[in-house]
């Protein structure tokens, strides 16, 4: 009996340490410092981010790498982390270790990230950006005009005809050469016009 309690206590302690350690290392790899500790990220995408609104803006709120590139909830985060082990492999191969190589590979990398965003209905954008809190009166006229139909789709509970990434490509990093053709030729990424938009175009 006594030994059983001892075993349980040891089990609990090991469990707490193991689980805590796992979560701790998960959190550690989920910081911007960790991302830019590789020169591939620091010299290319991190520099590009610094020229965008997600780095510098009116209110001083900014996004770090994992805010957009790693899901927030545990399940999806772990899946993404496992998939990201591929990046370690390519780091060892040196697939993108010069700016020239990075640019050569940029379209492939961007396409895979766009697909991830599209498949999850731009889940990571929506961690911060929420249609329910989006005040179109405070937006610039052009932005408000474009957002309005989609805001109503959400308000009316209709199937959304667009997701954030459909229009907002290249907002945080430089667009790859030939991205437009690549997106149009990709069955998943291609943006189909809605019936209303087609009618408006025909007029």
């Amino acid at each position: 009996m006594n030994s059983k309690i001892k075993l349980l206590a040891i089990g609990i302690v090991i469990g707490v340490i193991g689980w805590g350690g796992f979560n701790w290392s998960l959190a550690l790899t989920n910081t911007e410092e960790f991302c830019i500790s590789c020169h591939e990220m620091e010299a290319n995408v991190y520099k590009e981010l610094q020229e965008t609104v997600h780095w510098s803006n009116r209110t001083g709120v900014r996004a770090t790498c994992p805010d957009c590139h790693v899901p927030k909830d545990w399940m999806h985060k772990v899946v993404r982390k496992i998939k990201a082990s591929k990046e370690l492999y390519h780091k060892m191969l040196g697939t993108i270790d010069t700016p020239e190589k990075f640019d050569e590979y940029r379209l492939t990398m961007a396409m895979s990230e766009w697909k991830r965003m599209k498949e999850t209905d731009s889940r990571e954008c929506r961690n911060c950006h929420n249609f329910a809190s989006m005040n179109l009166d405070k937006q610039e006229e052009r932005s408000a005009e474009r957002h309005e139909p989609h805001l109503w789709e959400v308000t009316d509970g209709k199937e959304p005809s667009r997701t954030c990434i459909d229009c907002h490509k290249g907002i945080a990093h430089t667009l790859p050469q030939g991205w437009e053709e690549a997106v149009d030729n990709d069955p998943l990424l291609k943006v189909e016009l809605t019936k209303e938009e087609k009618e408006a175009l025909a007029e």
Partner: protein
Amino acid sequence: MRKSNLGTAIILSVLLSVFVTSAYAVGSLRGEYDLDKESKTFEKKKQIKNKGFDRNYTLQPPLIPHSIEKDKVTLKGNTCMKCHSAKNFQKEKAPKAGDSHYLDRDGKVLSKISSRRYFCMQCHVPQLDAQPLVDNNF
């Protein structure tokens, strides 16, 4: 003896005047403001954003009535073409880049913007609510 004195005086005064004028010409960026005085306040100018500017003269390249902060024209890409290209302008409800922008030097029609017209901001510019420093009689 006297003559040479006069000569030296003339040379000295010429040198001195050259010195003084050149000292003025250098001037500091602060202008006439002393270091211990308060400097001029910075007047922030805002960009004019509207539905579009009228042309001031025929063949004027249309002015840009929206922010271009996020737009980049580089060797690898031109983000203006996201909206203003022949392919996208209808969908984006944006003015199309002129037909002349799709011609090469032999007059052949191109499917993409001509490299001669690639650098949009060379001719098309945004406007600030600033008054010109020098009068313009054009």
